[in-house]
């Protein structure tokens, strides 16, 4: 697991049924591109988060394939429809096999 990875998610705590809400996510990650060299001229191996997924109650909202051109500390903003009370699940997949997860509960009504 990459060092000091910390997710940060903004999602509303409550919504109307069928409401469209804005979600913002940030995660601390160096997103090493695999194109940089160290001081000895050796390539620093690629180490990025290559996929980000947001689901709500098991149904998909957005699924992002990420490349090394995504900036350090990846940020996403997108919109989701809330059909009923339930949980947002946010998942980030690291090149090294680690999976970082965050859950946010939304109440309808």
């Amino acid at each position: 697991m990459a060092k000091n990875v910390r997710p940060r998610v903004k999602a509303p705590r409550s919504a109307e049924a069928g409401e469209v809400v804005v979600i913002k996510t940030l995660i601390s990650h160096k997103m090493e591109s695999g194109q940089r060299k160290d001081s000895d001229g050796n390539i620093i191996p690629r180490s990025i988060i290559h996929r980000f997924v947001c689901d709500f109650n098991g149904e998909n909202v957005i699924d992002v394939k990420m490349e090394p051109a995504i900036s350090t500390n990846p940020y996403f903003e997108f919109e989701a429809t809330i059909p009923e009370s339930g949980d947002f699940q946010f998942t980030w997949h690291d090149d090294d096999g680690s999976v970082y997860e965050e859950t946010k509960t939304v109440k309808v009504g």
Partner: protein
Amino acid sequence: MNFTRRETMVIGAAAAAAATLPMPALASKTEDLIAEFTGGAEVGEGGVMLDAPEIAENGNTVPIEVSAEGAEAIMVLAAGNPEPPVATFRFGPLAGAHRAKTRIRLAGTQDVVAVARMADGSFTKTSKTVKVTIGGCGG
């Protein structure tokens, strides 16, 4: 907008540098990636929006936004990066809008390209030139 002489020179130099880049090689890489995404289908224009700053203060962190109403997926490419792929957004059944914002790395002044796959299987694309300035000291 007023440019100082020095600012104009920098912008001119960036444009000159962009013009001398080995564009054909990079362009074909981008075209190959688009062809891969579309399966060779024809790509139209319109219906997909790409918002990016005209001038990015730092190429390391450039905010962009893409949207295409009714799109299944939007692929973003940076045509002038050594490796053009940036991200592909796939929208699920609970997507509240077919739009997303993120922050990307641009190696220099170049075109950013967004290609959308619509629900009917058609494709559409747009692009925007982003000038990446060579910074001073950042303060």
